[in-house]
Point group: C2
Chain length 464, copies 2
Amino acid sequence: MPTSTGHFRTGPFAGRTVAALGQDLRAGRATATELAGQALDAVAGLDAALNAFVTVDAGGALAAARRADDELAGGTDRGPLHGIPVGVKDLIMVAGLPATMGSRHFAGHVPDRDAACVTLLREAGAVIVGKTTTHEFAYGPTGDRSATGPSRNPWDPARMSGGSSGGSAAAVAAGMVPLALGTDTGGSVRIPSALCGIAGFKPAYDAIPADGVFPLSRTFDHVGVLAGDARDCLLAYRCLAARDAGEPPGTPVPRHVQGPAGPSGREDGGQARVAWLDPGGLFAGAARVVRSARAASGAEEEVKLAADLGRELRDTYTVIQSCEAVAEHAERLAGAPDLFDPELLDRLRAAAEVPGWRYVRAMAARERLARAAGELFGRHDVLALPAVPITAPLIDQRETELDGEKIAVRAALLAYTSPWNVLGLPALTVPAGTVDGLPVGLQLVGRPGREALLFEVAARLPLP
Amino acid sequence: MPTSTGHFRTGPFAGRTVAALGQDLRAGRATATELAGQALDAVAGLDAALNAFVTVDAGGALAAARRADDELAGGTDRGPLHGIPVGVKDLIMVAGLPATMGSRHFAGHVPDRDAACVTLLREAGAVIVGKTTTHEFAYGPTGDRSATGPSRNPWDPARMSGGSSGGSAAAVAAGMVPLALGTDTGGSVRIPSALCGIAGFKPAYDAIPADGVFPLSRTFDHVGVLAGDARDCLLAYRCLAARDAGEPPGTPVPRHVQGPAGPSGREDGGQARVAWLDPGGLFAGAARVVRSARAASGAEEEVKLAADLGRELRDTYTVIQSCEAVAEHAERLAGAPDLFDPELLDRLRAAAEVPGWRYVRAMAARERLARAAGELFGRHDVLALPAVPITAPLIDQRETELDGEKIAVRAALLAYTSPWNVLGLPALTVPAGTVDGLPVGLQLVGRPGREALLFEVAARLPLP
């Protein structure tokens, strides 16, 4: 199915939104069983080149699709995800399907319970097609270190998908499925979404429950969604966000989406105020990538980070993530180090040396940074910046050049996304044009409880 | 003023309670100025042998006492601490008085603002006599490592007062003042109170505000009170405990003292249910010390810790305290290590090596331990155990023998107190007899919001 120009964005769901598929299902123009069949065929046709999927559950998907069809026929409508094929990152437990976490440590591991977000997905009527490739233990933004092989970019399979939710991004970008779940600890939903030219949403911390998701760094881990456009991310988010305990399960718009109107009251008809956040305070970005994102943002106002804020955000991220990652892996690191990919092993060993007092300091810095960031939102509802400072590097590439200077690919990929994990803020990336034929992502960052503003802004972007 | 038997518990406030002094003041049998003068004379007479005080503020104390007298004469009564002489640990800021933290790093340091608890003390009409000796930076339970010299035990000045609030305990035990403030990170109020034969109360975490107190380990640090008996601790605590924001400052019984009646409703007339907590699960104790405390407790029921709980509490304490202490001292450790006492320097250097992932694990363990401890309170309101497994060792002693085995003095001193810092539970120690002429403390541990039960139990103890 690849085209003559070598791209693989040819699956049946390329350019078809969840919203449109839902209309087709309800108008009798499609059945869930047909959609599941199309997804399975697309995986069979495209995935040898992309390695987006680790496990395909044809039987389970078709059974779920038939149930979805029967329910719709019988008058039971579970909402916008009813009958929609979905990919689930291989770090998120689906009962009865292998969950390898991309690691030889979990070869053959089959959980017997669904993660909480998978339960919600099933309750919403979604059809789980299979498990998607993750960077080993989600510990890397490149998506090319995994016991199940690297996921590849549908725009050019010689290039990385980005990670760690690389398989989910590649599956959606290739049109194999219209929607996928991922996790995002420093950018792992947004980075591959940006590099693969789709939309990806990392909600506020703890907005989608993380029970049953293998942890990387517990205070940074977020469950997120990947789809062809921002509206589909919102539809999926609304089905997965934790509800207030008192709300009945059918409440259509959960607390985090609805949110309080907030001091600006912008939800009540006014336009959300957007500012461009000069990304230079975080990391040097490729000029054309930054320009492309900026043009897409349409923002007229600009804000800058205080001089030291960017560095402090980065250092805080690194220290906390290092200590929390080793807290999950210390026994594996001591007992079976050789089962880790060598790059991961090196990183974990270095992370194990970070002293505890630095973690204590980083946790205190995080509170200060949250206050400083709060001031950035004083006059604006949404901050816009690129999702990633560069376009997709080649698989296995570890250095790139920017303005004649060598920079580490990993540091570059994480630079614009990880601050919002430190701060726990909701952040959405949407496609914002291409540079040299590779996609660029525009990132919109907001405040918890005011997620709706991000989607409002995305909907009126002057996208190219 | 020492007696022929060599003890120094001969000050004017020995055996006089804050409650009785308050009656004397209001009945015209004493003035605050007289009490302050007695305290200053006692310090002048006794403190050369005990080193309980680092700084004496005769001028400030007499001025405050005159104001207290004028107010009482004018009909303004600030409550139970009005006109009462108080010592304040040299780790707690008193505006205009040196605060050395017992360290050469802060030689000559004079803060210009009162700590929040000192502000509350002044608002309650207390008369601050001076600053009391602290173990350097409060980083040790022996009280004998301080740039201002060791504080000594009024029962035998060759012996340690215990620490780190050693000066406060010695000052009260010697009768120089009827009341003192201390801090307690692993037992630093309760250990010296027990070794010096007085009462000491460590409230629930954050019950007395810690602003303006030099931190040792921020998630374990508690401000506490030391006095001749438990009732005086309660009087002082009521004046210092943080109030609900909505309460007027004069509200007599703050939230933490009053507390909810709780499921047992014991505050409503019934007797609090006390169980003896077998301390062997935490640490081996000297048989006669344990017997003395047990007899004093009068408890008939007994509970035991689950096998691993004691060790896990100790490990959790050590890891968290180490990392948090170095987070406060890293620059001093790097820039001017030789200003630390050598023992402290060794400890800080070892603490700086504790890896961050262990801190992450310890913080998670703390949550598990809190749940496990909650079960201990399932059928009991108050747990009773010794405050300290041994009686006061000699100054500079670092090892002692128990049943033929050598044990580290520091580990022994902390063993029964630090678990309640890990769990943030309120804990009171009261005198419980003597062994070989040295005092033993009985510790009562309860739940936040139900502090009143501890004092109810203390009031009906069959004390020797």
